[in-house]
Amino acid sequence: MIELDNVAYSYGGAELFSALNLQLAPGSFHFLTGPSGAGKTTLLKLCYGELIATCGQVRLFGQDARNLDRDGVAETRRRVGVMHQDCQFLDHLSVAENIALPLTVSGQTTHASDLTDLLGWVGLTRQMEQLPPQLSGGERQRAALARAVIMSPEVILADEPTGNVDWEMSQRLLTLLVELNKMGKTVLIATHDISLIRAAKAQVSARVLRLQDRRLQLAGADL
């Protein structure tokens, strides 16, 4: 689905990582961990076409990301649901409208019953008419997850989804992501949260990748 082959990325001449290889197979569950500034968010951005690798090849659903035109990138993003670290909502739209935004921009009809079901699944039925600034951290993350999955994407990328929430909410979000994986979705979660990884391994078969010293490697047995 998403393949990175010998990929490097540099910011202003400074190399962030290099010789990086990764394959996200259909239905797989990956964690991406590593110290701050190691390039986890950059790696996720490469996976949904927001950034182009400095070297190497990134293949998104079989197509070289470098060869995708602007419409091609938009099409790819409809197949990848992304939970951003800062959620990225439009503050003048209600929670329900924000969640339905991927359908809106792709010209698809939003069926009220489907939207209600999705809001119920993430536990935001009561907040559907509220504006994003009125939501708590956990509610924002759950709304971001709902928006990421509304197009029924094949891949879900989550960037620090539990960064601003308490342990109970982390578990709730993890449960939702595991449910999605059991429905056949490919999941990649970038996180610092070691306890979250340990909790997930009790529920799902997950590979843990560590991005450190410019290289990507499988994490040790302690994870």
């Binding site: 927001e50 602007r70 419409d71 938009a74 099409e75 993003r77 409809r78 992304v82 951003h84 990225q88 909502f89 439009l90 003048h92 739209l93 409208e97 935004l101 991927p102 809106t104 921009v105 792709s106 010209g107 928006r147 197009m151």
Partner: protein
């Protein structure tokens, strides 16, 4: 053509959800309305000037005067003879003798309004209007010399040509003004659209992240600016047309410069101004939006 009208209809009908996604930006909306309204008002005046000077040039080129100086007892006979000569002259569309009131009006600026024209030995004037091809001036002079010895044909050549030239230049200036007004409108709307796009950079980023194509994002801005320009220009055109309508009529003042209003089907021309403004706004905003989206990626 059907596809074109379908797209125009889609643009005007809009997409309520897309409109909701892009919030209205107050000052750019007012700027677009005001600019297109003011420019449409100026365009109406430029259009009126162009069309009026076109008429003047045409009228000046086609009119001439026959002056009959004859003893009192022969004046009527020579006038009739001259009218008969003119009636049978190819290229003369119309000829008529000016009555006493009209001759008095012509002399009024110099002699006052109560001039007793009938008691003065002033010549009889005949207004001659040529058709599109005109008449043979030399041939007409020769016939008049033979049949109406007191007639002198003045085809206004001496003073007509500079006036026709001036009228043509004024007409050209009017059209150049319309083009400049369209260009200035486009430039102002481009600036307003750029400001709106810059103010919505975060919104554009989010829409892209969830899979919006550039054309979808651009369309939301283009539709808004096109409709604002259409509305502003419609208001400006209405005010401008009313102002032209309220100009003193040429008949009442009897002068030359008062004939600035539209005549006949020319009143339909101002209707094209809001459409032109909307078209300019559409092209300007579309170009600005697509360029900005390209730069922001």
């Amino acid at each position: 053509m059907k596809a074109f009208f379908t797209r125009v209809f889609e643009l005007l009908a809009g997409d309520a959800q897309a409109d909701r996604a892009v919030p209205p930006t107050g000052y750019t909306a007012r700027l677009t309305l005001l600019t297109s309204g003011a420019m449409a008002l100026l365009a109406v005046f430029a259009l009126a000037l162009s069309l009026a000077t076109g008429r003047w040039a045409s009228e000046l080129a086609q009119t001439s005067t026959l002056r009959i100086s004859a003893p009192q007892g022969q004046m009527d006979a020579q006038t009739l003879a001259a009218l008969e000569v003119l009636r049978t002259t190819p290229g003369v569309a119309d000829a008529r003798a000016l009555d006493e009131d009209e001759q008095r009006a012509l002399l009024a600026p110099w002699f006052g309004p109560d001039l007793p024209v009938e008691t003065l030995p002033i010549p009889q004037l005949i207004e001659v209007i040529a058709d599109g091809d005109g008449y043979d001036t030399a041939g007409l002079r020769a016939r008049l010399a033979a049949e109406v010895p007191g007639a002198v044909l003045d085809d206004h050549t001496r003073w007509r040509e500079p006036l026709v030239e001036a009228a043509s230049r004024l007409r050209l200036l009017g059209f150049v003004s319309i083009v400049l007004i369209a260009g200035a409108t486009g430039a102002m709307i481009t600036l307003a659209a750029n400001a709106a796009l810059a103010a919505n950079a975060q919104l554009i980023r989010v829409m892209r992240l969830v899979g919006a194509r550039d054309i979808y994002i651009a369309r939301a801005f283009v539709r808004r600016f096109t409709l604002r320009a259409l509305l502003g220009a419609a208001i400006g055109t209405l005010i401008g047309t009313l102002a032209v309508l309220l100009l003193p009529s040429a008949d009442a003042a009897g002068g030359f410069l008062t004939g600035l209003g539209f005549q006949g089907w020319h009143w339909l021309w101002p209707l094209t101004i809001p459409i032109l403004a909307a078209l300019v706004a559409f092209v300007a905003t579309r170009q600005a939006a697509l360029r900005t989206l390209q730069e922001q990626s």
